[in-house]
Amino acid sequence: MTVESMPSTTKPKLRLKNVSKEFVAKRTGQRTLAVSDFSLDVRPGEFLCVVGPSGCGKSTVLNMIAGLDQPTNGSIVMDGQPVTGPGAERGVMFQDYALFPWKSVRDNVGFGLKHGTPGNGMSAVARSKRVDHFVNMVGLKGAETKFPHQLSGGMRQRVALARLLANGPEILLMDEPLGALDAQTRMVLQVELLRIWGEAADHGERKTVIFITHGIDEAVFLADRVVVMSSHPGRVNAVIDIDIPRPRTEHVRSEPRFGQLTEEIWSLIRDEAYQAIA
């Protein structure tokens, strides 16, 4: 009963097949299985949220998709091409934003365009225009010359988002991007994120998003589908379709369906969450 999602026969944008990741501690040689037998098809243009108890390997999965970590087993394929390392077509927004502290807001947003592959074949004027476009889109006009340490958490998050978008990735990988913000700022930015993602636009215009969060309500508010993970080792527990129509506004949060879905996901995680603090 998915709403406005394409038929499941559509070719996946990204396919993870039996992916597992084992970490070996350097000193003790102790092995930890962080992710086990993780399989998932990500559809083009969908907003996919990943939730699960702390330490369930959410970030590990994201890092493997980004190419920053290599799977121990299994394969990750994007548009039919195996992922072997990091690349600008898979942009990452890090939990701590990873802004360059010595660069102004403008230069942070334009960093990938200046030094990386996204700026290839682009003139300086075109780059500058592109930076302006995304600086304005995330509402940072007037703060262009400030340095990261002069910004609030919410503004840093906007810089990181503008930088991610300016690089024009096909898949946006977001690792708890709103995690460090206070509750009010987070709710405002959730709505804004959907606007920037292109909720009101045609489905074909939208980017594919994989968004990690520990907030179940956040996942329900944002996502087309929610992947619920369980831990030790990290694996897919369930994939829930979020059938709340778009565009979504603040009112969605008070709808009965919103509560039902949140409750459904929470019931899948609850036992492990209690175990984790017991």
């Binding site: 190419g67 990091p86 600008a88 990452v92 990873a98 360059f100 990386g116």
Partner: protein, 266 residues
């Protein structure tokens, strides 16, 4: 209603006045003490020091010697910068290089610059090359150690972020790692310049002991001549004060540069 006249306390003075108050008091005490001495006493006194300063400045000797010493420091510091920062970036970014060179560096580091003077004089004579060697040696270690620290402690997340923007390895070094290490390198530069200035004075003094009045010049050599030949304590005090003031100026200059070059800090 009568207003009591408040006695001015030190606490109520502006900071600049406070900084000068105590030294001024000491100078006064020193001068008073000197007045009790016989006229031909060799002991230094503030009035005689000032007279000596005026005479040495007027003759150009003081300025020339100071410039000579400063020139050596700048040149030696330049050599140390090229070697220290270059090797530091290499050691900081490659664990293999670091682990292999660290024992060598750490076994040379505790050897005081003065302790290599005998070899420097035997190899390079008593002229400028020996002085440059000492200065470069002294300045090398603070630069190296701080560069290695800065480069090896760069936030890994920034490097990962660069990789996800399609930035290559070499470009990452110049666009991310080097700028991130600049604060450490600047701190290392300031410390290095400080020890370089200390080392040049000591080196010139020691070289003077070897070559006597026919020494290679510089403010340290000037002090040696006052000590060994003319026995002019007032001249020595002038030199000491100049050395101290220049050390202070160098420190302030480097701090100002740090502030200027790192507007993103604080």
């Amino acid at each position: 209603m009568t207003t009591a006249t408040r006695t001015p306390s030190i606490a109520s003075l502006p900071p600049a006045a406070k900084a000068v108050a105590l030294p001024a008091l000491l100078v006064v005490i020193w001068q008073v003490w000197a007045l009790t001495l016989p006229e031909n006493s060799p002991a230094p006194a503030p009035a005689k020091v000032v007279a000596s300063f005026v005479a040495l400045t007027a003759s150009g000797d003081l300025i020339w010697s100071t410039l000579q010493s400063l020139g050596r420091v700048v040149a030696g510091f330049g050599i140390a910068m090229v070697c220290g920062i270059g090797l530091g970036v290499l050691m900081g970014s490659s664990r293999v290089v670091r682990e292999n060179l660290d024992p060598i560096v750490e076994s040379f580091r505790p050897i005081a610059p003065m302790a290599i003077l005998p070899i420097a004089i035997l190899w390079f004579g008593t002229g400028t090359p020996a002085a440059l060697t000492i200065v470069a040696y002294a300045a090398f270690f603070p630069l190296l150690v701080n560069t290695v620290y800065g480069v090896s402690r760069v936030d890994r997340q920034l490097v990962r972020a660069a990789q996800t923007m399609g930035i290559g390895r070499l470009r990452t070094v110049f666009a991310v790692i080097v700028p991130a290490a600049v604060p450490s390198v600047l701190l290392g530069s300031r410390l290095a310049m400080g020890v370089a200035w200390t080392a040049i004075i000591a080196a010139e003094l020691a070289v003077g002991a070897k070559s006597g009045s026919g020494g290679s010049g510089g403010i340290g050599n000037m002090m040696f001549i006052f000590y060994a030949y003319s026995v002019d304590l007032n001249g020595i005090v002038v030199c000491m004060i100049v050395v101290g003031v220049i050390a202070l100026l160098i420190d302030r200059l480097f701090r100002a540069a740090e502030h200027r070059l790192l507007p993103w800090r604080t």
